[in-house]
Amino acid sequence: MAGTHPAPPAGERAQLLRELDSAEFEARYGCDRFTATMLTNRCRYVAAHMANQVRSHAFSPVIRDGSDLCAMVSGPAELGYAMAAVSETMPLFYGSIPDAVRIVIEEYGADEMDEGDVLIVNDYYRVGTHLNDVCLMQPVFRDGRIVAVATIRAHFLDMGGIAMGGFEVVKKSTWEDGLRIPPTLLVSRGRTVTSVLKLLYDNTRLGSLCVPDLMTEIKALDMGVSLLGETIDRYGVEAFTGAVRYACDVSAEAIGEGLRTVPDGVYEGEDWLDGDGLPDSPEYSVKVRITKVGDRAEIDLRGSSGPTRTAINGAWPDIKTGLAYALKSLLDPTTPVSSGTLRNVDVIVPPSAMFNVGPPLPCQMYFLVVYTMVHATYRALNPVLGERAVATGYVTASASGHGRRPDGLEGSLVDSAGPAVIGAWGATRHGDADSSQQSSLGNLINDGVEIHELRGPIVWAASDYVPDSAGAGRHRGGAAIVHDTLWRVPAAHTMQLLFHARRPTAGGGVNGGGSGPTTTAWIFDASVSDDGARLPELPSTLEGELYRGATPFGGVVHPDTHAVDPDGELVVLEGKLARPAGAVVRVLSAAGGGWGDPWTRDPELVKRDVRDEYVSIEGAARDYGVVVVGDLRHPERLAVDGPATEELRRSSRPSESTGPQPDPPERSVARRG
């Protein structure tokens, strides 16, 4: 990331920011500590004000309700437009957005820009993520040069391409992804270049929703630029620039100090994507090799898989998102992100990898690559973090049903994320994990069942926690959830690629904690709903004969019973499953891993879990060595049998696992479709 203060050679301890006296501080930053603190806060507020303005005035629900945006404040050219602050919203933007400003303004030409100009860009090869995420940038000029830049990135509902909304795995090239916009002038000295708006309007499907959003974003940028300008006039360019450097140094130091707590050494980790969605797909993996010395690290990504054959690729800026999120969440969860976050980290990127593609490879599903990188880093560092190890959980699985919509377009029949985003987290040293969370780098708002049913022809019949599915541990992971939806119209069903199905222990529990089932999907035929006339009431179980008649279309299942089976076969859906009205889709979202030895879990907590049906009475004995007596019709009469528990825990304790678990073997693959 843009370096603003050179890091000392590894091993040599730099003077910490808090150790600087007033004279040293002023000499380094050109302002006193108070001014630097205040201006750093100011940058954070300006970013937040811009994001709030867009969110409270935006047109499309994905921004207003889903909060799929971010705003940021960057410094002047001589700092490489280093990012001082980024607004709350999605961590998925954190790594790519800091560099985007430098890349875009340098390519367009700072000399070509004037006060009141706004650039627009969405090209992932330049700025990362996917084409839906449209960035707008407006510089602040003083004395004819750029002293700061305000940026907003927000999700555009559609960017053209072969799939409405863009979310389609099987694309062969960026031309199928949609409209790729290089750095382009959208507003010239305060006047919108309407030909560019028309270009967008004419080449996207939902321009009537998205173009008004752009107008709102331009207003928010004007506001941010005006706030920044007032601030710079008041405190001077030198103090402002010093504060941007200070903000970056704070982030760099925090990660550096976090790294210092990890023993020096070389740590390796790998994580896998099940495939690319095409027939005979290989597995794809991200490999990280972390060499940690003092407060610095080198992360070598060589040995990772090359590009996939579909839209599951990422451009290089998103590498930083994966690594920054992984390191921050493990070592420094609370310091704000800036351009300094990865300063103490060097990354070796192979010239061609699924996280480093160029034209013409498509990147719509870049986030799958980012999550793989996060999990690989967790797998490298968790074994040496001891107590601080973090278990992982659900990532993503979107089943969607396609057909002709009321607006006449062909595409997904339901316009909100719904159950697909809900899934469990893994446990940490701080306690048990929630079952209803979303993947860690997202932060969308869930609209709920009623809105979902108003927006599409479905009945969201259930989202229920599966007993005994959570990764067991001293601290328990979140439970797997069965999400059942009844389709009231004929639809062609698809399944986005699943995580970790081929390798069920990838991620999961840490420090002796267990792992639960991985994400799986089935489609039941219309007889379970009497052709849509009846609410399907499928039991919330993973066992028995329930699944024999169902068609699995993602996950690892027994070849005959179709029940979840870690030793079964991987199912990959090719193409779409056309089903009449009344079909019922069940998606099992993966459980979260446990933290610590489950045989040391407080028996009263196990009893509470039995009472609340996270764990069955049998599961309490089998997975936790706790004997609970009573039955669920009398939840408050459930009790721990103390002596029996003591005896059970002493006599039949499972052999303790030591060290990292070996990588499980690949499994056989079955195809549907």
Binding site: S22, T428, G448, E450, H634
Partner: protein, 677 residues
């Protein structure tokens, strides 16, 4: 004592403030709140000021809020549609800024943290409606009774019921309530189709659950208060203040007690609106700086800016009209600390009332904003709370000296003071931006014990028109409780594109809502003001623009046209753009019946006829200005209308201190307000 006495009571977590007003004369009492039985504090205060001649007794209480956020709540059950028992655990899924890269974050209301209802008491009932309100699965009474047997054995004290799509069709919820009473007997029940008949099951569920908890909290409480007030000879009208500090008669409030959960903070905004009307100000920024926080709110067009929902804690949403308040950790007790990079920080932690700021001498060692004020000389120990609370300036200085930083002492103190002001100024910009307002057009009302000493300093950071310190700023909030009207309100969801064909249905709905409300208020249409509004959206949007005006009287095609135009105007005002070609979809329709209530009248302050204002003393200001400065000190009671006080100056009064910074001056207005510019 006269028959015109008005009494307002604000029950806070630490103190209960009681205000009695006789023809503009204020009698105030401050009683320590008995947190577990706060009605005893209320009655003690009532006895102290005297209520036997009072016409109204208006109560705002945070007792319900405190019970929820500390989870000192009764055991209750939650029933919902089968397959969805975890609605309350899931919430809306998102997480706050500070949790974005924190894998250990857990939802505060989730099962792994502190659920309002544990999972075993949240049970799925076999029934289902579809999104058009039709029955898809009839209510299974056999299964229902089995589930209720479990709850009976667990001896729950109440049952909250929220079934999917019940806002369109209450039949199953109503029947379920009957079955609850059959099996569980006389327990409290709240059903979502009555409490908050609006789409979105999560917020309807939380609202219904909070409603139930408030019934259990306030029903007995109200009876005990009514008995106690009766013994004190009170014969007037007993009202509760709701979340927008509008008044509801106690019996009416007990039917919808979720509206009471945050009664107190909104009162200050109402006081600003009412006092602003005396000053001919219709748009006012309101800032209440107390011990732990700074609450910022807004009056627009003479009325508090309200939202249709509010949050009690992260994502714990209640559907009720409530004054929008931005709370910042920047109060007098906000703690100054040194961050990990050596930077000064103010808040969000607070020293609270106990131990309080270091200068209280009650064992607090962390420096606070109040300690900075004492060190600078803005607060003089002899005049704090009329000299009743002794302060120790040396302890304040010692606390700053103990900070782990290389900054010189003067800088520590000066920077802490300024940082607190910077935090507040960002909060003000935030609320102004969200409403599309320019702070250059606004006056800021400064109240709460610490408001008048801090907020005039904002003039150096923000281009505000002025900072106004009202009379009696320390007790100003409670005046809001005798500045409001009685309001009866109801709302309904009805999705439909606005057009002439919708007019008959809307007319019928408004008619029935209004008749019901007038009956509850026991007034005729002539005695009340009826306000109709709707929440609408451009067709295709997923969110609504609230509170669009609806014409009074009969609704026909012409009035629907007016509603559409009003929507576009409101949308443009809020969002800066007009999309007149889009159809407008109505979602929620609201009616308020407003019954005028007796209000406090502010008295004119005499104009100085002869002589000149004399300072009582001077004091040296340290740390804040290079080279120091001397401030003149005045007693507020000495000030007369038209007087001008040039800064640096300090104005003392019993429960507050006003600080006029260097280069600023304060002009005394016709109602005794200090206008700092």
């Amino acid at each position: 004592m006269t028959r015109s006495r008005l009494v307002g009571v604000d029950v806070g977590g630490t103190f209960t403030d009681v205000m009695a007003i006789d023809d503009g004369r204020v009698i105030a009492a401050k009683i320590p709140t008995n947190v577990l039985q706060s009605e005893t504090s209320v009655l003690q205060g009532a006895a102290e000021v005297g209520v036997d001649q009072a016409r109204v007794f208006n109560l705002a209480s945070t007792a319900g809020l405190n019970a929820v956020i500390t989870r000192r709540i009764p055991k209750v059950a939650f029933l919902t549609t089968i397959g969805h028992r975890d609605i309350l655990d899931r919430a809306r899924l998102w997480r706050p800024f500070e949790a974005l890269t924190d894998p250990s974050w857990r939802r505060g209301t989730g099962d792994m943290s502190r659920p309002l209802v544990p999972r075993y008491l949240r049970r799925g009932i076999r029934e289902r409606l579809t999104s058009d309100g039709r029955v898809f699965l009839p209510l299974d009474e056999v299964q229902t009774r089995e589930e209720l047997e479990v709850l009976r054995e667990c001896e729950v004290q109440g049952v909250a019921i929220c079934l999917l799509h019940s806002y369109l069709n209450p039949r199953h919820e109503v029947r379920l309530r009957e079955l609850v009473h059959e099996v569980l007997g006389d327990v409290e029940v709240s059903i979502s189709s009555e409490v908050s008949p609006h789409v979105r099951e999560y917020t309807r569920s939380t609202t219904t659950t909070i409603d139930l908890l408030m019934k259990l909290k306030y029903r007995e409480y109200t009876l005990r208060l009514e008995e106690g007030l009766d013994e004190l000879g009170f014969r007037g009208q007993f009202n509760y203040a709701d979340c927008s500090a509008m008044l509801m008669p106690a019996a009416y409030a007990m039917e919808r007690p979720h509206k009471l959960v945050v009664g107190g903070p909104a009162a200050g905004t109402v006081a600003c609106a009412h006092f602003g009307s005396h000053l001919d100000l219709s748009d006012v920024l309101c800032a209440d700086v107390g011990g732990t926080s700074c609450d910022i709110s807004l009056v627009l067009d003479g009325r508090p800016w309200v939202n249709d929902t509010f949050e009690l804690e992260w994502d714990l949403v209640v559907n009720a009209l409530s004054t929008e308040i931005v709370t910042l950790g920047a109060g007098g007790g906000s703690i100054v600390s040194i961050g990990s990079s050596g930077e000064l920080r103010v808040g969000p932690d607070s020293a609270g009332a106990d131990p309080g700021p270091a200068c209280y001498g009650k064992g607090g060692t962390a420096p606070t904003i109040t300690d900075a004020a004492v060190s600078i000389g803005v607060i003089s120990p002899e005049h704090f709370v009329g000299g009743k609370v002794p302060l120790h300036a040396a302890l304040a200085v010692r606390a700053f000296e103990a900070l782990d930083t290389s900054l010189p002492l003067s800088e520590r103190i000066r920077q802490s003071w300024l940082l607190g002001l910077h935090n507040i100024s960002e909060g003000i910009i935030d609320i102004a931006i969200r409403r599309g307002l320019d702070v250059r057009d606004l006056n800021l009302m400064a109240y709460g014990a610490a408001g008048p000493m801090m907020l005039p300093g904002l003039l150096d950071l923000l281009p505000l028109r002025s900072v106004i310190v009202p009379p009696n700023p320390g007790g100003f909030s409670a005046l809001g409780l005798v500045s409001a009207d009685r309001v009866y309100s109801e709302s309904r969801t009805l999705h439909g594109v606005l057009g002439a064909d919708l007019a008959p249905r809307l007319a019928e709905m408004f008619e029935s809502l209004e008749q019901g409300l007038l009956q509850q208020a026991e007034v005729s249409a002539e005695e009340a003001t009826i306000r109709r509004t709707f929440d609408g959206r451009l067709l295709g949007q997923g969110w609504e623009t609230p509170f669009v005006p609806v014409p009074a009287g009969p609704l026909g095609a012409k009035e629907i046209e007016q509603m559409i135009e009003a929507f576009h105007a409101e949308y443009e005002q809020r969002n800066g753009h007009r999309f007149a070609s889009f159809p407008v979809e109505g979602v929620t329709y609201r009616v308020q019946v407003v019954v005028p209530s007796d209000k406090v009248k502010f008295e004119h302050l005499a104009v100085r006829r002869d002589g000149a204002l004399e300072a009582r003393a001077t004091t040296e200001l340290s740390h804040l200005y290079p080279g120091g400065a001397t401030a003149r000190c005045y007693e507020r009671d000495d000030l007369l209308s038209g007087d001008v006080v040039d800064g640096p100056a300090i104005v003392w009064e019993t429960n507050s201190t006003t600080f006029v910074p260097m280069g600023r001056s304060a002009t005394v207005g016709g109602y005794g307000e200090l206008v700092v510019t």
